[in-house]
């Protein structure tokens, strides 16, 4: 009860600040929109897809997962600014739940990601992408869990390193191989065996496969529940670890 109340307070505050400066939601969506408009048209011939719509069914889910990973991983920067302004310390002297300090922020990130995902989906609809609403909502759940995990991890790392200079290269170093090994831009079915073998160890690769299955209307595909389970477990672990960073002394 206290946790829910505290989380809501932090979420409200963070959300209020976000909508006061909504330009960041659009800055975040700019890059994927560029991919959608300038890269995706190459895919029909490249993937040998029968129609443009088929190519979008493969590409758009990957793009959304990409957005969730990157959008989350870079949230830590905002926290470092708050740390420097003393806002975090001011919260930490109150009896507010430490988990709420994290969850309120991460849920704000999840909401902002879902808004971005809706923008991308609507644009893709204009390119003849078709997906069932139920499948789409389940795909959004996957995205929400990814964003929850990556933003929590980013906050936890930000509290540990406490400097933008250290956070930026760290996040890029993590994000790059994760991105390439998840088959986001092109499906890993094109990959040689050894590369697929490595990718099987990348949880995001499972998430991408699951999201693709949902966009293809293949709800019964094992990858759907496997992807959701893997990401949900990792999200819980990420949140737990990051909340501990909020509870520990920050100095």
């Amino acid at each position: 009860m206290k946790l829910a109340r505290d989380t809501w307070l932090i979420f409200q505050r963070q959300f209020q600040l976000l909508i006061r400066n909504p330009v960041w939601v659009f800055v975040g969506v700019f890059q994927p929109v560029m991919y959608l408009l300038l890269f995706a048209p190459l895919l029909k011939p490249a993937l040998n897809a029968p129609t443009q719509a088929e190519a979008y069914k493969i590409f758009v889910p990957g793009l959304l997962v990409l957005l969730a990973i990157f959008g989350g991983l870079f949230q830590g920067f905002g926290l470092i600014a708050e740390l420097r302004a003393g806002v975090i310390e001011r919260s930490r002297v109150t009896p507010v739940s430490r988990l709420a300090l994290l969850l309120g922020r991460s849920l704000r990130d999840v909401v902002s990601l879902i808004v971005q995902a809706i923008i991308i989906t609507l644009l893709a609809l204009a390119f003849d992408l078709r997906v069932l609403l139920g499948d789409l909502l389940l795909a959004y759940l996957m995205l929400a869990l990814i964003a929850l995990m990556t933003s929590a991890v980013s906050y936890g790392v930000a509290l540990k390193v406490k400097s933008e200079d250290a956070l930026a290269p760290l996040m890029n170093t993590v994000a790059q191989p994760v991105l390439l090994l998840s088959g986001i831009l092109l499906p890993l079915s094109f990959a040689p065996g050894w590369l697929q073998g490595i990718a099987d160890w990348n949880p995001f690769s499972w998430a991408v496969d699951g999201t693709r299955a949902l966009f293809a209307g293949d709800l019964g595909n094992d990858r759907v529940w496997q992807g959701l389970t893997i990401i949900a477990v990792l999200a819980v672990l990420g949140v737990y670890w990051a909340a501990r960073q909020f509870a520990r002394s920050v100095r």
């Binding site: 505290d6 400066n21 002394s249």
Partner: protein, 319 residues
């Protein structure tokens, strides 16, 4: 109100491959009574802020114990949090938020209901003369205004004790005087105020009792008057030019009435004597003998800086 025994904290800092342990606070015993303004005086790096952050539950002590407003710091930090307010040195407001938003949020983080939180924010804005800027973003405030918002944030839940870390550092003289009035007002409202400062005049003018801290330890504790009385005698300050200063020091060193002699950086001497009235003629005579002209001579009662000097062997101004 506050009682600490042997509070300790060390930090490990890493420089290259070597890890070094820095003992920031090495056994602090303090007693702060209800309703007093207690000052923690010491140079930067003396361990004042670390001690304060331990008392405010922000960092865990390595050893020792403390009771704050009746709650045990080690066993029930949550209870301590409810009873204290803390205002950090480096600020605590967010550029893009307004004072009213910050105050309402802070009140609500302490578990206060929505309506009550809004009422408290209005009262705090009035009390700190912030009402006219209440709905402007914090980044538009002056340094003094912003500091007032931060203090208002620290006491929005009406704590029994409020910790203020260097509340007047960086303020212009007028805002500083204003802040002193605010701090005195907190006491009249029944709060115990614990401040840190490295300003001697602030400790002297504002605090009922002070503890002098150096190298992680309390080296003296008492009222400013008591501490100054400990250094019995007077201080005679002699104005000399830079060339004459060492010659005068040589001439006066070892004279029976001079208990201690200290060179002032810009030229001149500070002499600690038992009684100024009898020492001054002797000093004048001695300097005349060696043919040195002095530009001024002043008699002081000892200041807190003299207390600091005798306790630590160096002046607070130099450290």
């Amino acid at each position: 109100m506050i009682e600490t025994r042997g509070l300790r904290k060390s930090f490990r800092s890493r420089a290259g491959r070597e890890t070094k342990t820095v003992e920031a606070v090495r056994g602090v015993d303090l007693t702060v009574a209800e309703g007093e303004i207690f000052g923690f005086l010491g140079p930067n790096g003396a361990g004042k802020t670390t001690t304060l952050r331990m008392l405010a539950t922000l960092i865990e002590p390595d050893g020792g114990e403390a009771t704050i407003a009746g709650a045990d710091l080690r066993k029930t930090p949550g209870e301590v949090r409810r009873r204290i307010g803390y205002v950090a040195q480096g600020g605590s407001t967010w550029d893009e938020s307004t004072a009213r938003e910050e105050l309402v949020l802070q009140a609500r983080l302490y578990g206060i209901g929505k309506t009550e939180a809004h009422q408290r924010a209005v009262r705090a804005l009035d009390a700190f003369q912030l009402a006219e800027f209440a709905d402007r973003k914090c980044k538009t405030y002056s340094g003094g205004q912003r500091r007032r918002v931060e203090i208002a944030l620290g006491i929005i839940h009406e704590p029994k004790i409020v910790f203020l870390d260097e509340p007047t550092t960086g303020l212009d003289p007028q805002s500083r005087a204003h802040m002193w009035d605010e701090i005195r007002r907190l006491r009249t409202e029944g709060m115990t105020v614990f401040i840190t400062t490295h300003y001697l005049d602030e400790a002297d003018a504002l605090c009922d009792r002070i503890a002098i801290m150096d190298h992680g330890q309390v080296v003296a504790e008492g009222t400013p008057t008591e501490l100054k009385r400990e250094i019995s005698g007077d201080v005679v300050q002699v104005g000399l030019d830079v060339v004459a200063t060492p010659q005068a020091a040589k001439a006066l060193d070892g004279e029976a009435y001079v208990r201690k002699l200290e060179t002032v950086d810009e030229g001149g001497l500070r002499l600690y004597v038992d009684e100024g009235a009898t020492a001054i003629p002797q000093i004048l005579r001695r300097l005349d003998q060696v043919g040195l002209a002095l530009s001024s001579i002043e008699l002081h009662r000892p200041s807190l800086d003299d207390v600091f000097l005798t306790k630590t062997g160096r002046s607070l101004r130099e450290s």
